[in-house]
Amino acid sequence: MSNFFPRWANWLPLQLLVCGLIVGAPITLGVWYYFTPKYTRVGYQPDQPVPFSHALHVKQLGMDCRYCHSFVEVAGHSNLPSTQTCINCHGEGKILSNSPRLAPVRESWKTGQPIPWVQIHRLPDYAYFNHAVHVNRGVSCYSCHGAVNEMSVVYEAESLSMKWCLDCHRSPENFLRPPSEIFNMDWHPSSAAEQRELGTRFKEEWKVNPPVNCGGCHR
């Protein structure tokens, strides 16, 4: 009986394996790199109906986050300001009251229809998040939203993935800050050691015990 398989077939399994690796590795790498909120979410920077600059209002004018996001300390949801908040300064006869860039604000003030701001940070609907409980227990705006005070156009700075949440829920001492500096976007610990020391103290003082069980957030 002659050989059923030709001689080159001896190499076939090895060749298949090598090809598989050559094709499989980039696919695996591609999925690892792209199929994560670090890619899909971070850097999302949509056009807003009004080119509102946080860099101008917060960094340059020194306004507090809570002038506009007025209920972040008492509500689960950090509110967008009502049109009236803009009109406080940009109303008729006030600052830049004829600027074409503020036309949607004036229109909204006249008609009562809200300005259609584009939401950037969106958690999945099955994840529960409460702003108040975080900012009242030492988690700064900065920790989740990045240096918003330096953004002319706001973009998503962090992935908001579940692993990212758990990084802090498991070791909050790496992120907690003094209560007076929660809304100070320019405050940074001088070193990782200082952060650890402060964070550990606050964690004990305030009995910060973030849930790491499923029901903590998926309630």
């Binding site: 090809c19 050559i22 094709v23 980039p26 591609g30 790199y33 792209y34 199929f35 909120p37 670090k38 890619y39 899909t40 979410r41 971070v42 850097g43 999302y44 920077q45 949509p46 056009d47 004018l61 020194g62 306004m63 507090d64 809570r66 002038y67 007025s70 209920f71 008492v74 509500a75 689960g76 949801h77 509110n79 967008l80 009502s82 009236q84 908040t85 009109i87 406080n88 300064c89 109303g91 006869g93 006030k94 600052i95 830049l96 229809q113 809200p114 259609p116 939401q119 969106r122 999945p124 609907d125 099955y126 973009y155 998503e156």
Partner: protein, 240 residues
């Protein structure tokens, strides 16, 4: 062998193509985030401040019905006499009843007249709270000291009141409260963003500011007086 070479070349081109189209992590993009596993990520429920197709005007958040009391509406409680030893200002009211926008605590009015005093005992904590709220909401226009020179005035906002003018020093607490809540002249009301107890805390802090700008050496505690006079004499620059 050349087949493998072509294969690798093709693969390299493919990788370059993917990277050039998809970009790198963290690149700024206007493209809404892709939700790769969309299972129940977006549910047909209304969350705060989102649009809803259910209503004709497309708004998920509805206007409150007349007479609605907001959730979390807190009522400051007058502390007992024993605990109010730190009080710097005391109200004439034994019991504070936030009366659905009718009583003094909600309107600043007793009947038809502006009232005076806080509807609860002010402590140091009240003043600290007032300072914090003042600096968040008021200082933008009225300035940190209340001199009417906040940052907004540097950008063309005119008609900002100086809180130290005689008229405002003599104004009743109730009327100041009402100005915070409902606005006055070109100032719009801040009642929608400052809760009732905080408005009173701001009134208390404004009183403290007014007092500080018109203080005499006799207002300084005797123990501090010498030190202050010492530094004052030493640090007063020669007038040009």
């Amino acid at each position: 062998m050349s087949l493998i070479r072509y294969f690798i070349l093709l693969l390299t081109l493919l990788v370059i193509l993917v990277v050039s189209i998809a970009g790198l992590r963290g690149c700024k993009t206007k493209r809404p985030p892709i939700e790769i596993f969309p299972d129940m990520v977006r549910q047909p429920k209304v969350k705060a401040q989102v649009p809803s197709g259910f209503f004709a005007d497309g708004r998920g958040s509805r206007e409150p019905v007349a007479g609605t009391v907001p959730v979390g509406y807190s009522e400051p409680v007058k502390p007992s006499a024993a605990s109010s030893n730190g009080a710097v200002m005391s109200g004439p009211y034994e019991v504070v009843i936030f009366s659905g926008k009718e009583g003094y605590a909600d309107t600043g009015k007793n009947g038809t007249n502006w009232g005076n005093g806080l509807p609860f005992n002010a402590t140091m904590a009240t003043l600290e709270r007032g300072r914090e709220r003042y600096q968040i909401q008021c200082a933008v226009c009225h300035g940190d000291t209340g001199a009417g020179n906040g940052i907004a005035t540097k950008y063309g906002l005119v008609g900002v009141a100086n809180l130290h003018q005689q008229r405002l020093r003599e104004m009743t607490d109730g009327e100041i409260y009402n100005t915070i809540a409902n606005g006055k002249n070109t100032m719009l009301g801040y009642g929608s963003v400052i809760q009732v107890p905080d408005r009173w805390a701001i009134v208390a802090y404004v009183r403290a500011l007014q007092r500080s700008q018109n203080a005499t050496i006799n207002d300084v505690p005797a123990a501090e007086r010498a030190a202050l006079q010492g530094t004052n004499a030493a640090s007063t620059p020669a007038q040009p």
